[in-house]
């Protein structure tokens, strides 16, 4: 019985007592999915919040048997992706915010620091490298980006990602592979030397 199985059992027993544990266990991954789908930290927080609130209301309306059958990781992923579509569509009609990939100045993104890379330069380089990957990922067509975010950023298994997306596993695999191929193409284009830089 893994942590989610225990959580599911407790949610079925007493939703109000167990729900905070669901939030703590899944908020980082839902926020990550939303941030990588939407690009804007404010939009991502809104989508993640909406998703968790909807999850609570859905659980409150389900009977024990239905809660017991849930698989939290794919189920919550489906909900947050739906909220991302809504928030993203509204953003599209209002016009885009300035591009900001990894949070604004007053809200530093905290992540575990690798002990051997703790010098300021190493940390800065690591952040710069992460920003470059975020930009590449954001440039992918939505279907590929979604599949890669679920499989490789969030770390769902293929069966879980397929369940989250409501698509056959083969389709999700193909989307991930095509997305990876596109990321490589971008990477190659970036590393091609440019004459201006050579003169320095």
């Amino acid at each position: 019985m893994d942590a989610d199985d225990r959580l599911i059992a407790d949610l079925a027993d007493d939703l109000d007592a167990a729900f905070e544990r669901l939030v703590i266990a899944h908020q980082d991954r839902l926020y990550t999915i939303a941030l990588r789908m939407l690009g804007d930290p404010g939009d991502a927080e809104e989508a993640a919040q909406d998703a968790l609130v909807r999850a609570y209301r859905a659980l409150a309306s389900y009977d024990r048997a239905r809660i017991a059958e849930l698989r939290l990781r794919p189920w919550l992923s489906t909900i947050v992706l739906n909220r991302c579509r809504t928030v993203g569509a509204r953003r599209a009609t209002r016009g885009p915010k300035p591009v900001s990939i990894d949070g604004d100045a007053n809200r530093p993104i905290t992540e575990p620091e690798a002990p051997e890379a703790a010098t300021p330069t190493a940390v800065a380089e690591r952040h710069a490298e992460r920003d470059r990957w975020a930009v590449r990922l954001a440039a992918l067509p939505t279907a590929y980006r979604t599949a890669i975010v679920l499989r490789h950023v969030d770390g769902l298994t293929y069966p879980e990602a397929a369940e989250a997306l409501g698509r056959p596993e083969g389709t999700v695999k193909a989307q991930v592979h095509r997305g990876i191929a596109l990321l490589r193409t971008m990477l190659e284009a970036e590393t091609r030397p440019e004459p201006e830089e050579m003169t320095a």
Binding site: F19, E20, Y56, D102
Partner: protein, 266 residues
């Protein structure tokens, strides 16, 4: 697609590295929205001075006189079983409460009354029907909610009203016409709020001392609670005080359909 394009370790690490932590505000925002955690903040203007209001996504949870924050948080936890965290009262909620305190009954303020009994909620819902500038006795609420003998229980329920001023329990007075107790700082405050709403508590208690429970209008032959607004334009020479509904009935008066006076169970 048959070609298996395997992801390299470097790519896998770079993508996994795009996982981030949620902002620290996310958890509390979610818990407040679904009603598992509350926020509280200050409202400066009220007939009783600064207030502290607690709320969540379900509605307003409590209203109290502003005081020590730690003491408030502790009381809140005991009363609701939920943590309350200090915050700014949202403008929309602050405006709605200000309008309600001003006597505007059209403004909707959702209330979170989970954990209270159906009887208590019936009592509070009925108290909401009493207009600003009017009062009704405990016995009236008891009769209106179909529990005519539960007068004392009505008084207890009003004493437990978690959202005073929003649910105007100050507009419910003793069946003998005296002002009675008030949970938000005692009878003195009840008189202050009623005065603010245009009533004269001293005159009301003088009438009570004379035994006047109801007022009839000689021209319409209708008998009302003394503060009913339908009787407000009555000419002084048409004013007939009564000690009871029975006395008014014997004199040929019928009860007002707006304020619905009932036989007072003392």
């Amino acid at each position: 697609m048959t070609t298996q394009l395997e992801i390299t370790d470097t790519e896998a690490t770079a993508l996994a590295d795009l996982a981030v932590r949620a902002p620290s505000t996310l958890r509390s925002s979610v818990l407040v929205e679904v009603g598992l955690m509350d926020r509280y903040g200050r409202i400066d203007e009220s007939p009783l001075g600064p207030l502290v209001v607690a709320w969540n996504g379900v509605g307003v949870v409590s209203v109290d006189l502003a005081g020590d924050q730690e003491a408030f948080e502790a009381r809140h936890l005991v009363a609701t079983g939920r943590q309350a965290i200090a915050a700014e009262v949202p403008t929309r909620l602050a405006n709605a409460i200000a309008r309600r305190l001003d006597g505007d009954r059209r403004v909707r303020i959702p209330l979170d009354l989970r954990g209270h009994t159906g009887f208590e909620q019936d009592v509070w819902r009925k108290a909401l029907e009493i207009p600003r500038g009017e009062v009704r006795p405990y016995g009236w609420i008891a009769a209106e909610i179909g529990r005519p003998k539960a007068v004392r229980a009505v008084g207890t329920a009003l004493g437990h009203n978690p959202v005073p001023l929003i649910v105007p329990c100050h507009r419910v007075v003793r069946s003998d016409g005296f002002i009675g107790q008030y949970s938000l700082g005692g009878p003195h405050n009840k008189r202050a709020v009623l005065t603010e709403e245009g009533l004269d508590p001293d005159a009301m208690e003088s009438a009570a001392r004379r035994g006047e429970r109801l007022v009839g209008c000689a021209s319409t032959k209708i008998v009302c609670w003394p503060t009913c607004h339908t009787g407000r334009h009555m000419l002084e020479r048409n004013r007939r005080p009564f000690r009871s509904l029975a006395e008014a009935g014997a004199a040929g008066y019928r009860p007002c359909k707006v304020c619905r006076p009932v036989a007072a169970a003392a």
